[in-house]
Subunit: 315 residues, 2 copies
């Protein structure tokens, strides 16, 4: 048994004018609740410090270029982590001996923009960073939409991919929101022996390109994470920023999923809520060493198209 | 709308001593039912002509070599398809204008053994063959097991992989049993624009390497096919040989799954049963051209390990 007690710290909405200091206070409240419940790791959502700003076209640029008065847009990015406003969270986590992952918008010193998650160990040391690989949405303002999904405008794609880390007594990795819909996300980490994948997400219920999918959002959310967990014999923690934020309803449904694919615990509200489970990392072996013994059963020589081809080509 | 009315023709048990002619009569009964219900395509299970013989150690060989009196073992393989005993099924399907896929054990002229499926168009022409890629089970007799799963002894792995075909008004492909648990199966066909995947299976409920999975067999069966359908925007038809065959209980639960991942129709018995749905192949576009627009959103340069590495290597 290598048990790790984990909290998925779901967040309700964050208002456009809500100061980061108030958000950090909410995160610290959740951290305290998790520590009191005996957790060693708290998983916070994607872009957990601000409202989900890709829903607005905030610059004056046309095409791919971001130009104009960037005062509000740039205000959503962090130029360092930790920084003055998040330091109390880092300090309190270290004091409590609780590790955490935290999603935020990153602005690098050379002005590059990423959708990033930081992972911090129980002793306060930084384990690593993950930058989102699969960026959904669109690149340019689409005024016909009721709200935008401009992630492809405001974030660059990761060039580092899906690393894993030896931390928290096991092998852990991260993914972000749309990444969870792609089986390659889980598999690349599965091939590195991952035992726990932390996934934060912001998922609007309304999907403009095909509103027929709206009612299936909850089903799809669990389907992809449960399949990814089972097919790789890994724990998956999916944690939402949910609820109705600035008029846009987002999926909540945070869940901790076992290597069997079963949901071990899940959120019952759409607001700030802790979802807690005791996760035995050794249980991954029940799948990694039987049905999904990759070395015995996989056929990579038959999978060539997965890496050689990007888009689908019909015969 | 490109609608295709499909029947998953689930089979109940086939006894060890049941003559193939009787099995073919059952297949023809199902074919008639499907034709009466207006179907254009009938999907039969894996190894649909005989009992699931990999549950017995039938040769005298040790290690990987198959030796000794092979009278019974070899009797389960087809050396040509169609052949005298299956010709009535082919003839009747052609007469009715109904296409079908049919799984069987194939013995090539040079003595190679494959777990094969043949696909036949409505006019009786052979569209193609699929040989199983992911062979589960074990290579040598394991006497401590209550029953064997000697597929890795009795079948070679395919060297051809997952092709797709322009047939039945769309792009179609095949997979077999254990293949359905591997996301690569669906993805390789998804990258070829597949709109319909036909999957036959024989799945014993009892899984000797980890009986803790027994009660999850039904959940896992649907989970992997639903995820594969959704993540590739394709119809999936999963069809079982189910029920208690020669004392071994097998999963039934045949299903027709939409590109949304939803189960459109499913079996309610464990015996011979038709599961029927009208499948609009154009509906695949709702996923292939939005969320899963591969050309826009995939990141193959981040997926290298999937083809460069077979087994998992932890950091």
């Amino acid at each position: 048994m290598r048990t790790l007690r984990i909290a998925a710290a779901q967040l309700g909405p964050i208002a456009r004018d809500e100061p980061r200091s108030e958000v950090v206070a909410r995160l610290i409240d959740l951290l305290h609740g998790a520590a009191e419940a005996g957790c060693q790791l708290v998983v916070f959502p994607e872009l957990a410090l601000t409202t989900f700003f890709p829903r607005w076209h905030l610059d004056d640029g046309e095409g791919d270029e971001i130009t104009g008065d960037l005062t509000e847009l740039d205000s959503y990015y962090e130029t360092s982590m930790p920084n003055a406003v998040t330091q109390p969270l880092f300090d309190e986590a270290q004091r409590l001996g609780v590790g955490f992952s935290l999603g935020y918008a990153e602005m690098t010193s050379d002005g590059r923009r990423f959708n990033t998650t930081i992972l911090v160990e129980r002793d306060g040391s930084v384990v690593g960073h993950y930058r989102k690989v699969h960026i959904p949405g669109h690149e340019t303002h689409e005024p016909e939409r009721e709200f935008q999904h401009l992630e492809r405008r405001y974030f660059e794609e990761s060039q580092e991919g899906f690393g894993v880390y030896s931390a928290f007594g096991g092998v852990v990795g991260m993914a972000t929101c749309n990444d969870r819909r792609w089986p390659e996300t889980y598999r690349v980490m599965g091939l590195q022996g991952v035992e726990l994948i932390m996934i934060g997400y912001n998922t609007p219920i309304y999907y403009a390109p095909d509103p027929g999918q709206n009612l299936l959002q909850g089903f799809h959310n669990h389907l992809v994470m449960q399949a990814g967990a089972y097919q790789n014999g890994t724990w998956v923690v999916g944690v939402a920023k949910g609820g109705t934020e600035e008029g846009v309803e987002s999926l909540a449904q945070s869940a901790i999923i076992a290597p069997s694919g079963q949901i071990a615990a899940q959120a019952v509200t759409t607001g700030d809520e802790l979802v807690i489970a005791t996760c035995d990392l050794d249980w991954c072996k029940q799948y990694k060493e039987t049905l999904f013994d990759f070395d015995r059963y996989r056929r990579p020589e038959m999978y060539g198209l997965i890496t050689s081809r990007k888009g689908a080509i019909s015969p």
